[in-house]
């Protein structure tokens, strides 16, 4: 009976996902597509939970539905509601040495490809068995965190690079042009209602505790830097919406530091392991747990701030007027 109910639930979930996906793509109204995309993300998170993948469920709910949804809504606001289209098309700058850069990047790709092919990699079920056997020797109990920060730490390092590149790309696309709406988005400059102040006051500490918990829990269960960073970014979105933080034309030293600290600490850890005669990011056993924890903390910050900057659509952020007159 319970099994049958499970099947019915899964079938309904799968059907709803397909219908929502079709609706997101074919809906004539952009706004409806965005809202349904967020609903799709939430149902997708439930699907991951049903597949016994709580890490993915958390990431999908926080990043797929939450942050991406907020980014899409703010983009909609800027593009469709807020701004009259500018008459001149945005210019694309071609770097003078693009041929040489392409050649060098191609060479790097070839070297990496050759390095990959020259590794004797066990394939098939053997690889999984070996990984599970090695898991007992890593510093963390959670399999997913072990894979992300130990077995395949290099991948995670490069993912941080991708996030940083996204922010730099957005910064370049923004050019000298400032963000369209610098006021608080929520109340359209009318000031707080009493409810908004209460919401910020109640939710901010809860969100910070939640992010800290997710970060800490990553060592032995579902959680980790990506989920914690996304939750922290949600706080940034809330503060931006309520005018507690406002866009700034440039990022100060602290913000630039936070942007690169994840890459920095991660790379430094790799170089240190190299300097002590180990493989890149092969942590010494006695220091593995503190190193992973330190890297995770740095990653959380460097994941949260880029997401907030992307949402804000500005190069930096600054403290807004903290007290609105109602």
């Amino acid at each position: 009976m319970a099994e049958l109910l499970g099947w019915v639930f899964d079938a309904l979930l799968a059907l709803a996902l397909l219908l929502l996906a079709a609706r997101v793509v074919f809906s004539p109204r952009l706004f409806e597509s965005i809202v349904l995309f967020i609903v799709f993300g939430l149902l997708m998170a439930i699907a991951w939970a049903r597949l016994a993948a709580p890490h993915l469920a958390l990431a999908e709910a926080a990043i797929g539905a939450g942050i991406t949804g907020a980014l899409l809504l703010s983009t909609f606001r800027e593009l469709v509601i807020g701004r009259t289209p500018s008459p001149e098309a945005p210019r694309v700058l071609v770097y003078r040495w693009h041929g040489l850069m392409a050649l060098l990047a191609g060479g790097l790709f070839a070297v990496l490809g050759w390095a990959l092919l020259s590794i004797d990699v066990p394939t098939g079920p053997v690889a999984g068995e070996q990984a599970m056997a090695l898991l007992a020797r890593t510093a963390v109990d959670d399999a997913v965190t072990a894979v992300l920060l130990d077995f395949r730490a290099y991948d995670t390092l490069l993912e941080m690079g991708v996030l940083l590149l996204a922010v730099l790309g957005a910064r370049a696309a923004l050019g000298s042009q400032g963000p369209a709406s610098s006021d608080d988005l929520w109340t359209d400059g009318e000031g707080d209602t009493p409810m908004v102040g209460a919401l910020v006051g109640m939710l901010s500490p809860l969100i910070i505790i939640m992010a800290g918990y997710l970060l800490w829990a990553g060592a032995y269960g579902p959680g980790g830097a990506f989920q914690a960073g996304a939750v922290l970014a949600a706080l940034g979105v809330l503060l931006r919406l309520t005018g507690r933080i406002v866009p700034a034309p440039r990022a100060g030293v602290v913000q630039r530091g936070v942007l690169v600290i994840g890459m920095g600490v991660f790379t430094l850890a790799g170089l240190l392991t190299l300097a002590t005669g180990r493989a890149f990011l092969q942590y010494p056993e006695s220091l593995a747990y503190p190193m992973i924890l330190l890297i995770e903390v740095a990653l959380t910050l460097s994941i949260a701030l880029p997401l907030v900057l992307l949402f804000s659509g500005s190069a930096g952020i600054a403290a807004g007027r903290s007290q609105h007159s109602p």
Binding site: T193, M195, L199, L206
Partner: protein
């Protein structure tokens, strides 16, 4: 079936009924404010009953405390979003009339 399972099942059915009522209200009520009323009132009660059922079924104080926290957060989110939707609706009406 134990007494606890029976009680939990009863609470779930009741919770489902309130969710269903809220959804019918959302679809059938004539204007924004009464739709909002249907969704926020009925769904919050429905969620509370379903979580109470889970707490009874789980029969653990820690689980019950977590579920209570979830319900409080859901209430918080529902109240604020209802407030914002109502506010936006009133402003739209004011700009239409004025």
């Amino acid at each position: 079936m134990s007494f606890l399972t029976g009680a939990a099942a009863l609470l779930w059915v009741l919770g489902g009924f309130f969710f269903l009522s809220g959804t019918v209200g959302l679809l059938r009520f004539p204007d924004t404010l009464s739709r909002l009323h249907a969704v926020t009132k009925a769904d919050n009660l429905g969620l509370g009953l379903i979580l109470l059922g889970v707490a009874v079924h789980g029969a653990s104080v820690v689980l019950a405390a977590k579920l209570l926290l979830i319900w409080m957060l859901a209430l918080l989110a529902a109240s604020f979003s209802a407030h914002l939707v109502a506010r936006s609706h009133l402003r739209d009406e004011a700009s239409r009339d004025g």
